[in-house]
Amino acid sequence: MGLRKAAAEPLREVVEREHARDLPGLVAALKSGDAEQRRWAARDLAAHPQAAPTLGAQLLAERDGSVREALFTSLATHASDEAANALLPLLRSEDAGLRNGAIEALAGMPAAAGPRITALLRDADPDVRIFTVNLLGELKHEQVTRWLAGVLEHDPAVNVVAAAIEVLAEVGGAAQLPALDTAARRFADDPFVGFAAQVAADRIRAA
């Protein structure tokens, strides 16, 4: 007993593989009944960008939290148009974990997410627009403040506008002050919007 060098028993894979580690094998392993096998398949599929739609579909079915994290991380690693397309439907999910995971993953792929923002901000569902505003709070993209100002100037839903004001309070600058005024005027009947716009404007001026 005591300290013992591992060389006598080299590190090795201890999980028996039911499927090969190629694309078809990994896709098949995503359907395994064993969460560890599914998690490993999800991680290994990070090396297969063409698997993005499969990873997205699995997210809708997956119940194990650790497998979900691996699925999101692999899609974030792809950071491709296909990965963004696989993540966007999750913004409509009733499951807050899926929505937040999608927002986090999309936030890390500005080149793929950016071209989709305008359409998302025009979505008929105000909840999708709110989640898009939340995404803008995390997205490192030069258009973020312009998109948020557009929400303040045009979005008909008060909750979407309130969410955008909240994000602008953090990321906005002097160029967005007129949009904050516009929002306060558009929703003059709602004292919260006026209050939030004033707080955001004060914060921007103080920065």
Partner: protein, 286 residues
């Protein structure tokens, strides 16, 4: 001949290097690291006899053996450490974490501890000394210490195991006398028995192909490494650690690092000596 002062790294060069290095290693350099990065890039450009960044970068990208990339990694990773650094986590290991680990093991079973990054070996050897000196059950279990780093030069140094007086300065004097031999140069050579007790390997924690073979680990020390990674690479590394650990296994991060900001996979455990992270046991119980 060009001198260091005459080779200039432009903003575009820096961006090119940063993107390439990130893709290869997961390590991300912010703009505020320009001085650090530029100085080392110039060193590498000169070492290869290149006239400018462009020539060197082309050679780097077409170097099929990857030797220059490895040299670059060695230059860009920081390896300052010393014996018994942040030793409250080692106290926690011998006072609490190991007691929980052995609850799920029979006497004589294997315990695996992984220290990553190994840097020049101070951490894995500190773990070995702590186990021998402070863990009363050491003779009842087989303990394997694995240690990995992306930098092959420090792995060589770790196995050479010769240290400056500063490296051992935080250790109790009697332990220095017990485990080291004083060399005429004033340096300290670690006992070869301890060197032989640690299994060193080259691993990039952000590369699943490298970490796949690490399984059944009971405790991981991963301190002051994730601070060099960007958000995505941190998540990849967290998942690698999750899959490497046995259920109920522990992760120790550096004092400025927080797993809770990276991943929801682990639960927080607060012990008297330290706060650490734990992979849940099956069924979600800690």
């Amino acid at each position: 001949m060009k001198t260091a002062a005459r080779i200039r790294i432009s903003d575009t060069d820096f961006q090119k290097f940063r993107d390439y290095f990130y893709r290869k290693t997961g390590i991300h350099f912010d703009d505020n690291k320009r001085y650090f990065v530029d100085k080392r890039l110039v060193d590498r450009i000169e070492a290869g006899g290149h006239e400018d960044f462009r020539s060197w970068f082309i050679a780097l990208r077409f170097d099929a053996r990857g030797d220059e990339l490895q040299q670059l990694v060695n230059a860009m990773t920081v390896n300052e450490t010393y014996f018994f650094r942040e030793n409250y986590q080692f106290d926690c290991m011998v006072n609490d974490m190991l007691a929980e680990v052995v609850k799920h093991k029979k006497r004589g079973e294997r315990i695996r501890i992984w220290s990553v990054p190994s840097s020049t070996g101070e951490e894995p050897y500190t773990i070995a000394i702590y186990l021998l000196e402070r863990w009363p059950l050491i003779e009842q279990y087989d303990v394997e210490i694995l240690s990995s780093d992306i930098d092959t030069a420090v792995l060589d140094q770790a196995q050479r195991a010769v240290y400056s007086p500063r490296s051992v300065g935080q250790m109790p004097r009697e332990l220095v006398d017990k485990y080291f031999r004083r060399l005429p140069t004033g340096e300290h050579a670690l006992s070869r028995d301890l060197v032989a007790a640690v299994e060193f390997s080259r691993v990039n924690l952000a590369d699943p192909a490298d970490t796949r073979r690490f399984r059944d680990i009971d405790i991981i020390f991963c301190r002051n490494l994730l601070i060099y990674f960007d958000d995505l690479s941190r998540r990849v590394a967290a998942e690698a650690m999750f899959d490497a650990l046995s259920p109920g296994g522990f992760v120790c991060l550096g004092h400025s690092e927080s797993m809770s900001r990276i991943s929801n996979l682990f639960t927080v455990r607060r012990f008297p000596d330290a706060m650490v992270y734990q992979k849940p046991l099956s069924g979600g119980q800690s």
